[in-house]
Amino acid sequence: MKILIAEDEPLILQTLELKLKKEGYDVIGCTDGLDALQKIDAEQPDLVITDIMMPYMSGLEVVRKVKQDDVQKNIPVIVLSTMGQENIVEEAFELGADDYLKKPFSLSELSIRIKRLAKKG
């Protein structure tokens, strides 16, 4: 299973990449929304995990573009939010996001959500 992670903080991205690779996933990392969108086009991942606040293009915009695209709209998207972004999470769900996690979150919880969405898909 191929997972794309969009997170602008390289340290977090690395930890997430390592964890998911350990669990046997193919991981594609990117540090901004624009890069994420290009890689989604090129790599067609099975699941996308995106932070909300990112340079060049926000996570919300990534969700919007993915869910508006006929080919990509079935790719499950998990949104990573921080405290105080409740309204943005609601907007993400309206745009079609499949799940969300509020920072700080536990990596085992992330794994469970990935598995749940993978089963759905």
Binding site: L11, T15, L107
Partner: protein, 365 residues
């Protein structure tokens, strides 16, 4: 002509500047130029060295830290010798702390425990404590933040003392740390707060408290009587958000406070926890208020008022100010007296017909 000028210039030149002086000047300016070039290169060289050093630290440390924090709970943390050497340099320690802090803010569960353990084992807690003792406010604030994020609850007392620091940033960080560690119990810093708590800080603290299960706030009465007006305002907000009905009488007293901001917040709080009696007290104070709080009262009164307050609202329909007229009309409608408004509009179409139509449309919407 040109020759004459040159000759004159030469004579004047030689009169004021001897060849020796000229040579000294040239040497002096050459020295200055070379010094500037030398120091520029030296500065750029040092910066470049620092950059590559940081990059080297990054390359070495990031992966190791990520691996360590992802280790299983029962796995022992071993610090390789090369890192032990590396951690003797301040730059490496600062970088590693920053790295751990970023991760700690993002992850919870076993990863967060591993991060905290690594922070302690690498002796970074001592670094944070040193920062706490610094005379520079920004270093002190950073130290508090590090200790809070790394859950170093044993430092609670030391940080508590800083919740009333004269520096606002140190104070804000310390207050946030205390709430982070103790939740609602951390609000005890309000007992000693003598400096202002900014509106922004109040919002931050309320957001932080959302992460905790609500607990009793036995000191609420004391906070509502604080000589620090910002403490009173914050206590009023807490009473509103966490519905502290037991302090209703004290909140009603705040309607007559000398500070207008306190009075405005008291009205908002009473709209949540007050009753008919509170509405009566709002009306009692209404005449003493300026426009801002008058409209505030009119906008809130319907939430706790009753038919008994309709005469007051009817009276306010005659107010010269159109905004107050409209607010009174809306309150009447909310209290179920739109019929009276309709009658008033029929008696005096100008301007009540327009007000009535506006309120009616709003109610339907």
């Amino acid at each position: 002509m040109v020759f004459l000028f040159q000759n004159h210039f030469k004579t004047a030149f030689e009169q004021y500047i001897t060849p020796q002086t000229l040579i000294s000047c040239v040497v002096f300016f050459l020295c200055i130029t070379f010094s500037i070039v030398f120091f520029t290169y030296l500065y750029l060289g040092l910066k470049k060295r620092a950059f590559f050093f940081k990059e080297r630290i990054k390359k070495n440390l990031e992966l190791w830290i990520s691996n360590v924090i992802l280790a299983d709970d029962d796995e022992e943390i071993r610090i390789p010798e090369k890192f032990q050497r590396l951690f003797k340099t301040k730059a490496a320690r600062d970088y590693a702390i920053e790295n751990l802090i970023t991760n700690k803010k993002t992850f919870s569960g076993s990863v967060a425990n591993n991060i905290r353990q690594l922070y302690e084992e690498l002796g970074f807690k001592q670094d944070s404590l040193k920062k706490l003792q610094s005379n520079f406010w920004y270093i002190k604030a950073k130290g508090i933040q590090e200790l809070a994020i790394m859950d170093q609850n044993d430092q609670l007392l030391r940080v508590y003392r800083l919740t009333n620091s004269k520096n606002d940033l140190v104070r804000n960080e310390a207050q946030a740390a205390i709430i982070h560690w103790s939740g609602f119990n951390g609000l005890r810093f309000l007992n000693i707060a003598s400096y202002d708590i900014s509106e922004w800080q109040q919002v931050q603290l309320l957001v932080q408290l959302k992460n905790f299960t609500q607990q009793d706030m036995p000191k609420m009465q004391q906070w509502l009587s604080s000589p620090n007006d910002t403490v009173v305002i914050f206590a009023l907000k807490l009473s509103e958000v966490y519905q502290q009905f037991q302090v209703k009488n004290k909140v009603e007293e705040c309607l007559f406070h000398t500070n207008e901001k306190v009075r405005i917040q008291a009205v908002a709080t009473l709209a949540k926890i007050g009753d008919e009696n509170s509405a009566g007290k709002m009306i009692q104070q209404y005449r003493q208020e300026r426009f801002t709080n008058r409209i505030n009262i009119l906008q809130q009164i319907h939430k706790i008022g009753s038919e008994a307050h309709i005469p007051f609202l009817q009276h306010e329909l005659e107010n010269e100010n159109d905004f107050l007229k409209l607010a009174a009309a809306k309150a009447m409608a909310e209290l179920g007296s739109i019929k009276l408004l309709e009658e008033k509009a029929a008696e005096n179409p100008e301007p009540y017909q327009q007000i009535y139509q506006h309120v009616k449309a709003e109610m339907t919407f």
